[in-house]
């Protein structure tokens, strides 16, 4: 009779910790370490939150389009947003935009063009190389930031879609999905969803108009308009529509959300202009964020947000007080 003697180091199967518990312990430990770290360094947890799930992007620096002004820190860019689909508080988007799923994502291209259809985001972007542009962003509420965007020139994407001669305007729409966007479920919201924006064709083809897919070198956090958003730096921030799902080439000037909401306060053009006040506040100055605690960081607002040289020709002969 053979008696199998077990060496002392061999453990029976019954003593093996199940894999799930083993993995849970690891998860618990990383969680605990993270929590402990965040207790000692308050900013840390925050930074983790903003960057979780974001991918690093390959890009070249387009310095010819970039300002050398001091950049607004990443934490502020990702914690202070207007994205009413997630609530009107500045902190709401950072809190709730995680409820939106951005992968997979597709963009419906329609209207006056040769290449309409439903594009997976990757296919829309495949032909293009990313570049980084550090732009000023001037909100109509009289605050501003300096943000390093990563993306592609809007003109390149438009050329790829081949608009025809009837295309005089480009229209954009944000995702409309109340299940993922709690602000769209609000009873007393006066926005007629989806959020809509538009540009005249020559504005859209201007070298500054940009489709951003990232900021600070990584893919866009949801609260900043992931996975793809417009950036038109010479116009007030609300023109830079987020989380785009529809691009339409149109013959007629499209209706845009803020114009629909309060036509006496917001126009189709919405060019940054210190000479034309908002009916409720002055546009002569802006608070460059982060602003100081004891003294606000007021700076003078410049015409076309400082991009006059590149865009003023688009509006030659137009009365900008009338077409605000």
């Amino acid at each position: 009779m053979l008696i199998k003697q077990r060496p002392s180091w061999v453990l029976p199967e019954s003593e093996v910790t199940p894999k799930s518990i083993y993995l849970n312990r690891r998860k618990f430990m990383t969680g605990a370490i993270g929590a402990a770290a965040s207790l000692t360094v308050p900013g840390l947890l925050h930074a983790n939150d903003a960057s979780s799930g974001l991918k690093a992007l390959d890009y070249r620096s387009a310095t010819e389009y970039s300002t050398d002004e001091k950049k607004t820190p990443l934490d502020d860019v990702t914690a202070y947003n207007n994205f009413y689909e997630f609530g009107t508080g500045k902190g709401d988007p950072a809190k709730y935009a995680g409820e939106m799923s951005v992968d997979p994502w597709s963009v419906e291209v329609e209207g006056e063009c040769e290449r309409p259809g439903r594009y997976a985001l990757e296919d829309l972007l495949k032909p293009h190389d990313y570049e980084e542009r550090i732009y000023r962003l001037r909100c109509v509420e009289a605050w501003s930031m300096v943000i390093p965007w990563v993306g592609v020139p809007l003109a390149d994407v438009i050329k790829q879609l081949q608009p025809n001669s009837r295309a005089k305007y480009v229209y954009f729409e944000t995702l409309h999905d109340p299940k993922q966007m709690r602000g769209q479920r609000s009873l007393f919201s006066t926005v007629e969803w989806p959020y809509r924006e538009g540009l005249r064709m020559d504005e859209a083809m201007n070298e500054l108009a940009f489709l951003a897919v990232g900021l600070y070198g990584e893919t866009l956090p949801n609260q900043n308009g992931a996975p793809i958003r417009l950036v038109v730096p010479w116009k007030y921030g609300f023109k830079s529509i987020k989380s785009i799902v529809r691009i339409r080439f149109a013959e007629e000037q499209p209706k845009t959300s803020w114009e629909m909401l309060a036509p006496n306060e917001y126009g189709f053009y919405a060019n940054v202009n210190p000479e034309v006040d908002h009916p409720r506040w002055s546009q002569k100055q802006e608070r460059r964020l982060p602003s100081g605690i004891l003294r606000p960081n007021w700076i003078e607002t410049t015409k076309f947000n400082g991009y006059e040289e590149q865009v003023a020709h688009l509006y030659k002969g137009m009365d900008l007080a009338k077409y605000y």
Partner: protein, 205 residues
């Protein structure tokens, strides 16, 4: 005798507690400032929070009369003056923060007369000014029967504050609607109990 002293002590303790509670919003704000969690636009955030606190305490002062009616306990009245003065305190801080941390002190006249929502806020503050000044026992005695009609100015002031709040909305007015409903109910109860004339300030009787 001992029982009376105990009651007085309890009354004082309750007042001290209400006083401390009314300072909690300020303490939280200061702690957020010190820990850097008021965000990148602190002037805006601080101004908004102080204003909202003033409005909330204002609604609390308007709750006292209905509470007295509904509970039959007149002890609530003991806290009204203090709460009223806290409204004035937070409203003053709100305006100071607006000027020092947000807008700047240049051309105050233009600041408060040009923008309609600021006209509303400034008007509400002007209405509250005589109320704060006549809140002492001596002034109450001196004004006698005129005191109450004067202090009904808080009703139009509350309405102006609400309009001031509403006119800052850019699109979603949920919060404004909620505050508006509360204010409407608080004033509506008075009309229901004592008639519309009970809301009219500066009129005796």
């Amino acid at each position: 005798m001992a029982a009376i002293t105990k009651r007085v002590m309890a009354g004082v303790a309750a007042k001290v507690m209400v006083f401390c509670l009314a300072l909690v919003p300020l303490a939280l704000l200061i702690s957020d400032i010190l820990t850097g969690s008021v965000g990148p636009d602190p002037g805006q955030a601080i101004t908004e929070r102080l204003g909202l606190t003033a409005f909330q305490i204002l609604l609390l002062t308007l709750l006292i009369t209905p509470l007295k009616k509904l509970t039959g306990w007149s002890g609530w009245l003991r806290y009204r003056r203090m709460l009223g003065l806290f409204v004035f305190f937070y409203a003053s801080l709100h305006i100071l923060a607006f000027l020092q941390l947000l807008l700047g002190w240049g051309d105050l006249w233009a600041t408060f007369t040009k923008r309609p929502y600021l006209v509303m806020g400034a008007a509400a503050f002007v209405l509250m000014l005589p109320l704060a000044l006549t809140s002492t026992k001596g002034m109450m005695r001196r004004l006698g029967r005129g005191w109450k009609p004067l202090h009904r100015l808080i009703y139009p002031a509350a309405g102006l504050v609400w309009v001031h709040f509403l006119w800052q909305a850019r699109s979603d007015i949920t919060e404004m609607v909620v505050y508006g409903v509360v204010l409407f109910v608080l004033l509506g109860l008075r009309v229901y109990w004592s008639g519309l004339s009970s809301l009219i300030p500066l009129r005796r009787g």
